[in-house]
Symmetry: C2
Subunit: 444 residues, 2 copies
């Protein structure tokens, strides 16, 4: 952040001050932080608090008196408050609720009732509504009055007396319309919205696709229950990407920054999948052992097992990455499955040709370094490795592309197809392909 | 997208119409698409065109007459236009320029002059400016008049006669202030901005961190040259995610959707790194061969090479993923290098203990299936594999964490540390560790 003008001691932009302050405060002890926060005005305190890491927020909350915590909660914005409340230890949450005003209590209860990961769980209840029979002038007066309490007044929502959403009016439309016109004449009655139980990522993608400032969220009856703002969309997209990446690398996702996570927690995030894979890896160990006689007849063959398995892991993970990302960006839907598989087959074929030829040269060169007594010419071994590697690359590419499509079909997040798991699977297929190619072509 | 009210045949929200239309149009042939577009009004045409894939845009542009292309360009928004112009074949670009108005020509020339990846390359020149001696009433009149031509009027930029940026005024502040107050009294003179040659991702992260609607971009003299809007920040963050992920999986990044890319192009995106890795993989092949005598004395040892190399690949990639993501989210800077390495060492130690113990059990079980005549007891072999695997896990975790930190230190994007490349590196370290552990403990 920069300051172009430095002639004022006090910042006139509380948002910026809060975000910058919070950066420096995350390093203080909870006690020091609590003391610091209580020298601020209640609103500044809530602003700075909202920008702190969730872990830091909770450590501070645990030190506060019930009444102070309630006051802090009541100054926070509706979505930040619900999000923070969800993470409080249950007994502390229960304890602080009665100290809040009834409206705030109900707002928290309502917002935390939506399932994690849905549009409902990330929305805020601070939006401006208008009724369609107001004039532009009356609407502007209402918005001016409500401005300080609303997360955004740049888009106002037109609702019926039963709070059914029937239109949108932007502040731009209001200030450029004649003051005597009625809202129903200038409102947009075709608009994008989200339902409360829709995936929060789908909601964020709508904000992105249609360049929205905010997305209204309605319940099953079409009643407006909240909005998701553009800045939340950015956070959702970033969080989803982190989750996808971690899942893809077989890391369990948990909230919290890298530095805010202890070594023990980092360990627990990673060990789960690794143990499963180690156990699953018994299968490839077992396969090697069942073909022991072939491998002992030509020990040289065992030297190229890593080459076969690595090629499968790399090409399979590449294919999976491309398909998972295209699914995440909604570039592919179920109507494209066949087209994707056909494309991947064509890609795999070309990769197989190039990598197979390279393997031929590599093995021919490496095997000539060997002192082993071979029952077959070196060239034959090179051909076997090269053919097996080619088949392995095509198979791994198709498996890598198919598994995320299958997950998508089963309505599971395609990013659950972790690259290490895929590697373990194509290790097994690769060993089968390799040893059977050798048995067939070398007749040992 | 949904429609709550369906009682109007024509959409009253052109943005939504354009985005939805463009979705369906990407599947038409360029000829059909050209015909379709020319039945729309010039402004609608430009709106729909802006939402098309870049590849589709170019195919259509190639079919248009020079005059029609110029008309289309002049109706596009400043940033979309510059972005599209950059991708046109050079001769077509040169040809169409003289048909544009001078202001548009200069705007394009200026915007395309900024280096790809900088804040300058993604900004728009359509923003509203105010001078600080205007009254609120005068400012509102000016914004109302300029509204249709500006990408956003929700934030207006206060500039001197030399266009130096000295403050910001939000439309919210304007409509809630007394109409006789002067802009200099209500403007915010502390604000976040970006310089033209700053990384576009850093600019997007500022928009995200400070929840901004738009970020002003200034040149080295503090002169306002453009703004980056919140919707562009979402697109930048999404594109950077895709690029990081692709790089990390050793895929060359190119613009374009999955389905809009041919099999040949997909192949070219992936083959580059794979060939480099195959060549680099010669090193591990060579190492195996130099230890041939050890491995032939106990062939069983070769059976566990994949177990050693895979563990290194998985744990190294996990560590790299965590560090790369933390660097991308600006959670880590150079002051944290040592702390990160210490954390990773602690994590690696724990992973090594668990995975090493599992390996002991696995090898003891698998080796008992073997018919090979062994010069040492099975337990000794299991201990060797287990110890080597433990050392390999710690080494790979440290290498996986160090390489992105090193890239960051050298001001290279940490995501260049590709997982397959890392796998190839830890294959080599793993083989060294394994074979030397065997030689030392088994004395063969």
């Amino acid at each position: 952040m920069g300051k172009l003008s430095k002639n004022k001691a006090q910042s006139s932009n509380p948002g910026i001050q809060a975000a910058t302050l919070a950066d420096n405060l995350n390093n203080l002890s909870p006690k020091e932080l609590g003391d610091y926060l209580f020298n601020l005005s209640p609103q500044d305190r809530a602003d700075v608090f909202s920008y702190l890491d969730l872990n830091t927020q909770i450590s501070v909350a645990l030190l506060l008196k019930r009444r102070d915590l309630a006051k802090l909660l009541s100054c926070m914005s509706s979505d930040d408050r619900a999000n923070f409340y969800k993470s409080l230890p249950e007994d502390l949450g229960e304890e602080v609720l009665p100290a809040l005003a009834q409206a705030e209590r109900e707002d928290i209860r309502r917002l935390i009732s939506y399932k994690e990961g849905t549009a409902g769980s990330v929305m805020t209840s601070e939006y401006a509504t208008l009724s369609c029979d107001l004039t532009v002038e009356e609407a502007l007066i209402k918005l001016r009055r409500e401005a300080p309490d609303k997360e955004t007044i740049y888009c106002a929502y037109v609702v019926t007396s039963g709070r059914h959403l029937i239109g949108l009016v932007s502040l731009k439309d209001l200030i450029t319309s004649r003051s005597t016109r009625r809202i129903e004449e200038i409102m947009k009655d075709e608009f994008v919205f989200s339902s409360v139980d829709e995936d929060r990522e789908d909601a964020a993608r709508k904000i992105q696709k249609y360049d929205l400032l905010a997305l209204p969220v309605v319940d099953s009856l079409g009643v407006l229950v909240g909005i998701i703002t553009h800045d939340d969309a950015l956070d959702i997209v970033t969080q989803e990407h982190t989750e996808d990446l971690e899942r893809f690398m077989a890391i369990r996702h948990e909230r919290g920054t890298y530095l805010g996570t202890t070594a023990g927690e980092h360990f627990r995030k990673r060990i789960g999948w690794l143990v499963s894979l180690a156990i699953f890896g018994l299968a490839s160990g077992y396969i090697i052992h069942t073909f022991e006689s072939t491998l002992i007849a030509i020990v040289l063959l065992t030297f190229y097992i890593p080459m076969i398995t690595d090629s499968g892991g790399n090409t399979g993970s590449q294919a999976a990455t491309m398909v998972i990302r295209a699914l995440a960006l909604r570039e592919i839907d179920s109507s494209h499955y066949l087209k994707v598989l056909l494309t991947e087959f064509k890609v795999g074929l070309r990769l197989a040709l190039i990598l197979g030829s390279l393997a031929l040269l590599k093995v021919y060169f490496l095997a000539s370094l060997s002192n082993q007594v071979l029952p077959v010419p070196i060239l034959q071994i090179a051909v076997v490795v090269s053919i097996a590697l080619g088949i392995q690359v095509i198979t791994a590419t198709l498996i890598g592309a198919s598994l995320p499509l299958l997950a998508h079909r089963l309505k599971v997040d395609p990013a659950v197809i972790a690259s290490p798991a895929l590697t373990t699977v194509v290790d097994i297929t690769g060993l089968f392909i390799y040893i059977n190619t050798a048995k067939l072509l070398l007749s040992v």
